[in-house]
């Protein structure tokens, strides 16, 4: 138990330190680690976690508590949350302290730009296994297309399309 919690903490801390921009950057890394590599959650469970993260207030990143709970119950949920949120806190406070000296360093900006570009790749890589599990019929494909069009080109808040798909699914996909 203790070693499970320790490795959960170390991994989430690493993920928290290296992902910029919160939820959508963190999700693919969590999915790779805990669904594709360690098989501690199924893709369906992970998708449920994303939905719970969307349903609850606060940053989507806190869905890591769901992943942690599935691995090691309540202590797992707490440890995973602390692990992923601690680096952001230390970095923000650290930068706030030295802000005036740090402002114009072009190397820092360039590194951040490189990382945010890699996030695009992370998202694409996360979609593939999820799509394989979730989009199995013409009907689920239609739901995915609606989700894409409304958040992509139309830039609508995903909460509504997810809610609507849930209601439709409750009646038609049971």
């Amino acid at each position: 138990m203790l070693s499970t919690l320790l490795s959960l903490f170390v991994t989430t801390f690493g993920i928290g330190a290296l992902t910029f921009g919160g939820g959508y950057a963190i999700l693919p890394v969590l999915q790779y680690q805990y669904v594709s590599k360690l098989h501690l959650l199924t893709a369906q469970e992970f998708a449920t976690g994303i939905v719970i993260g969307q349903m609850t207030p606060g940053p989507l990143t806190t869905m890591v508590a769901f992943v942690g709970y599935r691995i090691a119950h309540v202590p797992g949920g707490i440890v995973a949350s602390v692990g992923i949120l601690l680096p952001a806190f230390l970095a923000a406070v650290g930068v706030a302290r030295v802000y005036h000296r740090f402002q114009d360093v072009s190397g820092v900006k360039a590194a951040l730009r490189g990382i945010s570009l890699a996030v695009v790749g992370l998202l694409v890589a996360a979609i593939i296994p999820l799509a394989r599990d979730m989009v199995t019929t013409l009907f689920t494909l239609a739901l995915a297309v609606i989700g894409f069009v409304s958040t992509g080109p139309w830039r609508k808040d995903p909460v509504w399309v997810l809610l609507a798909s849930g209601i439709v699914g409750a009646f038609l996909l049971r």
């Binding site: 693919p28 806190f89 970095a91 923000a92 890589a125 999820l130 739901l143 439709v168």
Partner: protein
């Protein structure tokens, strides 16, 4: 000086009522800290948000930490940061614990399958918009494409890819120092500046 108790309750409330993604989470903070409590000016808050978006983790989390740090130092930042995330983490754990029972109902399973399919589409939309806003030229396209290939086709560890992308950024994506438009300096400066 703002008391720790006030910071706790203020950020707890924001964390509890903050639905609707990073933009709304930051704007609730702004309304509270700037308009309601008058702790900071508009410009000061924008600076806090700038730092919050530069550092790892959610933008709203970073902004909360930096704002509270400004108001009450390290202890203020720690209290506000804890209070901001507390409601979400508690709610996610409660839902994670009760979800398994709920999943035995067929309509809950149907709803989850519906939402799961829509999540795939939503993530595609997010990838498209992120890509469109970040990929400006061939070099940035190559970095994004390379990362996609490494992750999706070759299954390289994402943390390694992020570190490599940061390094590539430093080597390839440094902003070109443009000459002042008023000065007589022409293209020579661009060459010399690198």
């Amino acid at each position: 000086m703002v008391s720790l108790a006030e910071l706790f309750w203020t950020y707890f409330r924001i964390g509890l009522l903050g639905f609707g993604g990073p933009f709304s989470l930051v704007s609730i903070q702004q309304r509270t800290a700037v308009d309601q409590k008058k702790w900071l000016t508009e410009a000061e808050f924008a600076e806090c948000m700038g730092i919050g978006s530069l550092t790892p983790g959610p933008i709203s989390s970073g902004t909360a930490a930096v704002t509270a740090y400004r108001l009450r130092g390290f202890s203020g930042a720690a209290v506000a940061y804890f209070a901001f995330h507390l409601p979400a983490v508690v709610l996610v754990i409660i839902l994670a614990a009760t979800w398994r029972q709920a999943e035995t109902f067929p309509w809950v399973r149907g709803a989850l399958r519906g939402v799961g399919a829509a999540v795939v589409g939503v993530l595609c939309g997010v990838a498209l918009n992120t890509g469109r806003s970040l990929i400006k030229d061939l070099r940035s396209g190559l970095v994004a494409g390379g990362a996609t290939l490494a992750l999706a086709a070759f299954g390289v560890n994402p943390i390694l890819v992020m570190a490599a992308a940061a390094l590539t950024g430093v080597l390839l994506l440094r902003p070109v120092r443009r000459p002042e438009p008023t000065a007589s300096a022409g293209t020579d400066d661009v060459k010399g500046g690198q």
